[in-house]
Assembly symmetry: C2
Homo-oligomer: 188 residues x 2
DNA sequence: TAGAGACTATCTATCGATAGATAGGGGTTG
DNA sequence: CAACCCCTATCTATCGATAGATAGTCTCTA
């Protein structure tokens, strides 16, 4: 197996592992076994656990940012944006009851190397900024600060809905919570 | 040191440890060192890590349930209830940037013994049920199902707000998110 | 009431398993 | 040949857990 393949396999396997078991439970041996190489080979591509973790988080955020940018490119109203947005987090639950990787990492904050922490914060920034832009489509006259505060609240609420739905292994919990958030007026 | 003291110290230290570092990072040695005994003594009081974890979660939920019952006993409207409710989660953040223990545990779901998982689910049930009762004070005519859905949404939103505020080590993020949730009408 | 026996709570020492990490060798390929 | 990639082998540190011993306390009984 050539290097780019191995490297990508490592990232893919490690991402799933973090999403389902957390950063602390991410081990070089498990990743290696799942990829089909030895743990020393994983160290070849990612010298330390922090290097692997930060690249994982960076790639995760980058992919999310790219997807959100695409969605924003389509002309649509805020409600349509939100439907797509909550769909991303829903998909993680449907896919083997996983969580947003940065949500998991946030819960383990004190265990993370600083470089990983920074990426987690960037993920939040990217999401909140995007949500602010999406809200702007509907209510361009609302002051920026107020819109950003609401964007922050939506991001937090969606992460929370995912968290508790996962704790019950029941995507219906997510749907119910998101539905109520929309009914109440938090999410367009 | 007599046994009840040691046992309580273990629970107290372990709770803080889980709240700040997660279940995976909870170790008998660290707990023992912090309490001032040997790890074997911790095993004397809690034979397995699962036993310690489930008792931690059980006690945590029990304390929360008792506090919430007290609050509900006081005559007040839903808004007053919510102020106290969000204050509980705020206090954890202020207190060394900790998180709701069951929120942390929810994120690590797949790493938890079944007995601990069950306690995490009970915490959610207790919270949602209480929130439903609190909402009932303001809107007794709203159908039960709808009220419970909103209660679920509030619980999820508050947990989420705490999660992302903690990831930034900034309680102001929590305040801003909660404020926007109230402004938007999700939280009374 | 004195002593035997059991219980409590802790200790020291150690177990096998696993963690992340490293040194150095070997094969493949451009 | 040189760079790249993966390997074997190993290291130190730590994990949860257990064995066996001990000092102190409690209880029951002769």
């Amino acid at each position: 197996m050539s290097s780019p393949d191995t490297r990508q396999s490592i990232l893919s396997v490690a991402r799933k592992m973090v999403q389902s078991r957390g950063y602390s439970a991410l081990s070089f041996r498990d990743v290696a076994a799942s990829v089909g190489v030895k743990s020393a080979s994983v160290h070849y591509h990612f010298p330390t656990k922090g290097a692997l973790g930060s690249e994982l988080a960076r790639g995760y955020t980058d992919e999310m940012a790219a997807y959100l940018a695409d969605v924003l490119g389509e002309t649509a109203d805020a409600a349509a944006f939100m439907t797509k947005y909550v769909g991303v987090f829903r998909a993680a639950l449907v896919n083997e009851n996983r969580m947003c990787m940065c949500g998991v990492l946030a819960a383990e904050r004190d265990e993370l190397p600083a470089e990983v922490q920074a990426e987690v914060e960037r993920f939040a920034e990217v999401n909140v900024e995007w949500l602010g832009k999406a809200l702007e489509r509907d209510e361009p006259r609302v002051p920026l600060a107020q819109r950003q505060a609401r964007a922050l609240a939506i991001f937090a609420a969606v992460e929370g809905a995912q968290l508790i739905a996962r704790s019950r292994s029941d995507v219906a919990v997510y749907d119910q919570a998101i539905g109520a958030m929309r009914t109440a007026g938090l999410i367009p």
